[in-house]
Subunit: 338 residues, 2 copies
């Protein structure tokens, strides 16, 4: 069933059918109704490919993330997809994993499919080695690239992210003010956001006049149990009384460590997570966590994208500040309150 069939049954030309299809005003009400009724009757569906061919767009955006089984990324995907669909854009998803080669391949795949734009979720897409981001610039030469929770400078690349450094700095200062003497920063990898968070941590210690030792910066990319064991080992030679983790899963590893080590949380050990994911409410005690306002970030990114796709301009970079949700892994009292 195509516009020819419809035009025949309605006794008009295909141009008229097309006009009705596209809500063109130059059609008399009478014929419009006639055409419309035939369409209904025949359950006509315009062919998306043919339309894409001439318009050179199928109203589709490519969504890239490392892995939707990560609750944080999964939430982002869910928000983005729904908001995009509300603007009648659909989402082509790629779960790339963390290997550079796969990320590259997926990007090319989506470009070859003529998506209207790309949204990359997570700073894992941005390499720290200069030159390694060339693939992103090449993609941006074709379609607008929006990076969520990461940032990269370049033509046609737009970043919206949360100020991770500031957030961690604030949270660390809070830990110190609540009486923690030896905080430790726990993170997975030297991604952009990992580095930013680390920077915030170091800044906070600097501010309070402490020197940061290398031992206080712990890299551990593993499961909850592995994280726990990693901290157990560390605690042997470097006792610490607070952990600031770069995501909630790591923070839960820290909770498990505290219990295993016989520490009271938060009295002997304070813990702060990052992302305020649903995990924060599943552990015990419930986790104080930095909330980087994911839904807001997604909304922002989508409206930004809609501007771009409608030919308007948009800021290269949008930075928002985080929130912190206090639960039961941090002390409520502060030194100066006592």
């Amino acid at each position: 069933m195509n516009i020819y069939d419809i035009s025949q049954k309605a006794g008009v030309s295909i141009a008229t059918v097309s006009r009705v299809l596209n809500n063109n005003k130059n059609v008399s009400d009478k014929t419009r109704q006639r055409v419309l009724s035939v369409m209904k009757e025949e359950e006509y569906q315009p062919n998306a490919f043919a339309r894409g061919l001439t318009l050179n767009t199928m109203k589709t955006v490519g969504l890239l993330c490392a892995d939707t089984s990560d609750p944080y990324l999964g939430s982002a995907i869910s928000y983005l997809e729904q908001k995009l669909r509300a603007h009648s854009y659909e989402s082509l998803l790629c779960c790339t994993g963390y290997k550079q080669s796969q990320k590259k391949k997926c990007l090319e795949l989506l470009i070859a499919r003529h998506v209207d734009a790309l949204v990359l979720i997570g700073s894992s897409f941005i390499e720290q080695t200069t030159g390694k981001n060339e693939y992103l610039h090449r993609a941006a030469a074709q379609v607008p690239v929006v990076i969520l929770n990461g940032s990269l400078k370049g033509a046609n690349i737009y970043s919206s992210l949360c100020d991770d450094a500031e957030a961690v700095e604030y949270a660390t200062v809070r830990l110190i003010r609540s009486g923690c003497q030896n905080p430790v920063f726990l993170y997975r990898a030297d991604t952009l956001s990992g580095l930013k968070k680390k920077e915030g941590f170091i800044r906070a210690l600097d501010l309070s006049g402490q020197r940061v030792s290398d031992d206080q910066i712990v890299m551990c990319s593993g499961t909850v149990t592995e994280t726990r064991d990693c901290l157990l080992k560390l605690h042997g030679h470097l006792p610490f009384d607070a952990v600031l983790a770069s995501d909630d899963e790591l923070a839960i590893g820290a909770i498990k460590f505290g219990k295993k080590a016989g520490l009271r949380i938060p009295d002997d050990l304070s813990i702060i997570g990052y992302n305020n994911s649903m995990l924060a409410k599943c552990c015990d005690p419930e986790l104080t966590s930095i909330d980087n306002r994911l839904e807001y970030l997604c909304s922002t990114s989508v409206s930004l994208l809609m501007n771009l796709l409608n030919g308007k301009s948009a800021p290269d970079k949008t930075v928002i500040s985080a929130d912190i949700v206090i639960r039961d892994t941090t002390r409520k009292t502060f030194k100066e309150d006592i």
Copy 2:
């Protein structure tokens, strides 16, 4: 840059270019090399829309799930997308939420986009009221529909799922054998899988000669905290010593309840969750959970789909049995062991 341009620069016809593109053997090695080199030089990318138009497929499958922020559904999406991509199919994602109207709309959207097949994840897509599944049958009239973790009979509809009833029956028997006298079944809604699980629970009680009272079947669809409070209220008038929950989040609500009520887990209260999601390892004590082998289910569904798309046949329904992962919310000793 299109095949005309390429054909000119290579001094051949577009037909030859097309042949090279499609690995047709009827091209001399010499010309093939020439064309290939021009393509490389010009960084030629075939237009996916044009190709879709003639072939009437863009090698795309529609993935429908209620919400990827649910870790279970997020994992399923991740597995499916990657496995499909390995077969060079891409995934158009729709997060439909739980409203029937939205589910319908998304389905139509994807059909209109000429996806090659549809994969529905979760039994939430199957309505219990007869006639309400008409929309699925209509979709199946166009493209194969694969249901993951749900089942529906119909032409061109294929289901692969875990035997939830059996799994719950087994787990409940286990609870009873370990000494639990008053188990309670906790679930979210009368979806297909909800009902199956309930059925398994009732069967287990029947087997052990107990009569099931309505109070033992608790419906609660809310957050962890809401679930906790719901159980607190129930415990007032119906003391129970075991909870079998239809997902891990509910089970964690039960853990929170146990702690609030001052019950020892698992001595006073045994708890079993469902899905064996990452949540099971984040709570404390860690959750015994039924594992419905999600990854295996996803693999099965994808290979099944590949069969269908290659014109081969496939079984209407594949049922696998679940596993149970014992952690710390259930007793290790059994009545007969003592």
